[in-house]
């Protein structure tokens, strides 16, 4: 029986879809059966980030309304046999499905997969309620911005009212230099405000943008710093104790690289 993990943030543009795609791919890299589920009906992106947009025939709404079987709507990933995507509909909107239908689909998928990663739309309305309805666990993604942290806090408050495990935190797009200068929140500030467990942090990395452009998750590139962050998160989800101290080490490493570049320049 698989676990359904919803990836949510409240605010848009903090990297929910990127995080969903990469955590899912990283888990598949570890040989797990993973299903990615895009619940952002009307504004679907996960298929694009995964580079699977040209293979969509049926979608989530078709499956919810019984126009096809859930299995028929699944798309197999081009890189991994154990990774599938259930795309959202692009033509409808969030009200096209309700939480009960969503839960039914997740429950149907659970026996066949180790992990179901549910990509949640921005906001706290219908789309959010749909995405959370079938989840057992939640990952809250935020960037170290005051506004993103505020919205993440709101989401954590809402998730605490749901019947799921306490959410875990991913701090995305960390720029250690700005944080150390005091021009941005640092990871510690974010964690102390939200007061939930830190699952991992992802440094700001141009490679992520390039990878998304190619339609290939960044975890496929083993040399990227962001990739390492996502791989560590996947290992922590699998129960390995990858020390969170690595966050600090990575930061100093990052600083070293920066200073080296600075020397070179």
């Amino acid at each position: 029986m698989g676990e359904a993990i919803v990836v949510t943030s409240g605010k848009g543009g903090v990297g929910k879809t990127t995080t969903s795609a990469n955590i899912g791919t990283a888990l598949a890299l570890q040989g797990k059966n993973v299903c990615l589920m895009d619940t952002d009906i009307g504004l679907r992106n996960l298929d694009v980030v995964m580079g699977l947009e040209n293979r969509i025939i049926y979608d989530l709404v078709d499956a919810a309304e019984g126009r096809c079987r859930v299995k028929q709507a699944l798309i197999k990933d081009k890189r991994f046999d154990c990774l599938h995507l259930l795309p959202a509909a692009q033509t409808k909107d969030k009200s096209a499905v309700n939480p009960a239908q969503m839960k039914a689909i997740v429950d149907e998928l659970k026996p066949d997969y180790d992990y179901i990663i549910i990509d949640c739309p921005a906001g706290i309305e219908q789309g959010y309620k749909n995405a959370v309805s079938g989840a057992d666990q939640a990952i809250v993604v935020t960037t170290p911005d005051t506004s993103a942290v505020r919205d993440a806090d709101r989401i954590v408050g809402l998730l605490e009212q749901e019947d799921i495990d306490p959410p875990k935190l991913v701090v995305n797009r960390v720029r250690s230099q700005l944080a150390s200068q005091g021009d941005m929140l640092d990871v510690d500030d974010v964690v102390s405000t939200l007061a939930i467990d830190l699952l991992g942090m992802i440094v700001d990395d141009e490679e992520v943008i390039k990878a998304a452009h190619r339609g290939e998750p960044i975890v496929m590139n083993p040399n990227s710093r962001a990739s390492l962050g996502y791989r560590n998160i996947a290992r922590r989800i699998l129960g390995e104790s990858v020390p969170l101290m690595a966050v600090e080490e990575k930061k100093s490493f990052f600083a070293k690289v920066k200073s080296m570049l600075g020397l070179k320049a």
């Binding site: 005051t146 505020r150 919205d151 806090d153 709101r154 954590v156 408050g157 809402l158 605490e160 005091g182 405000t193 939200l194 007061a195």
Partner: protein
């Protein structure tokens, strides 16, 4: 299982015994006694007999003593009903029965018991409600009486109380004390860094973010906010000086 049933049986037997005892020792008559105390006349009503028996005797007594009271000056009496719970209708009935004797005026009804509802209300208004959670963005907690929070109030979260507020954590959101107009309410916090704070409609707004020179909270040590008498605005003082203010208030 056996143990449980024996205790239950025991309790039942004890209850039965208590009933028998009450029946045996209960006064046969004289359910209504009138006594003069320092504050005037008090009518004591027996709280063990049935309500019907009580009203019966009350009717008799009043009819009998009507002449005794005559048309003299008005007499204010207190009614003590002991441990009997009276509904509003019953209270009215007792009052009207007593006041049948013209000069009698019921000043108040004293009782040793109150309903659960009344008790809850009283406890709410005078007591401290304690929460141990983080008040997150978008959450709003409102209590009657004082509020005691073990946790933080995050930016965008709100806590409100008709009395005072004490936060054993960091206050980063909004706190409103004395929301029904209690000017003596205070807001205390271990780390005081509110966005907005108000006491009985007097507001304090956090300094603009760009005006804040150094990173960190407004007050790092425990302080409390109160309405300063002189300036009629919110002022902050170290928590260890709170007792002085309370003392000054009590002097007034």
């Amino acid at each position: 299982m056996w143990k449980v049933s024996t205790t239950v049986e025991k309790v039942m037997i004890m209850a039965q015994l208590a009933e028998v005892k009450a029946m045996n020792t209960g006064p046969a008559k004289n359910l209504v006694t009138i006594k003069g105390t320092k504050e005037g006349l008090t009518v004591f009503l027996n709280d063990q007999c049935s309500y019907d028996a009580l009203t019966e005797e009350l009717k008799e007594k009043v009819a009998r003593d009507h002449q005794a009271f005559g048309n003299g000056p008005e007499v204010e009496v207190k009614v003590d009903v002991g441990y009997r719970f009276l509904t509003k209708e019953q209270e009215h009935q007792i009052i009207s029965l007593l006041e049948e004797a013209d000069p009698i005026k019921v000043k108040e009804i004293q009782t040793e018991v109150i309903s659960r509802e009344e008790a809850r209300k009283e406890r709410e208004e005078t007591g401290i409600t304690s929460y141990s959670q983080i008040i997150r963005s978008g959450q709003d907690i409102r209590v009657k009486g004082d509020l005691y929070l073990l946790g933080d109030v995050n930016p965008g979260g709100t806590i409100q109380a008709t009395g005072s507020i004490f936060v054993l954590g960091t206050l980063k959101g909004t706190a409103r004390a004395g929301i029904d107009g209690d000017l003596r309410a205070v807001v205390g916090a271990s780390v005081m860094d509110p966005h907005q704070l108000s006491i009985a409609g007097t507001y304090f707004h956090a300094p603009e973010r760009h005006e804040k020179k150094e990173k960190g909270p407004l007050y790092k040590e425990p302080v409390f906010a109160y309405i300063s008498e002189r300036e009629k605005e919110i002022a902050f003082e170290k928590t260890r000086l709170l007792y002085q203010m309370k003392r000054d208030i009590e002097k007034d």
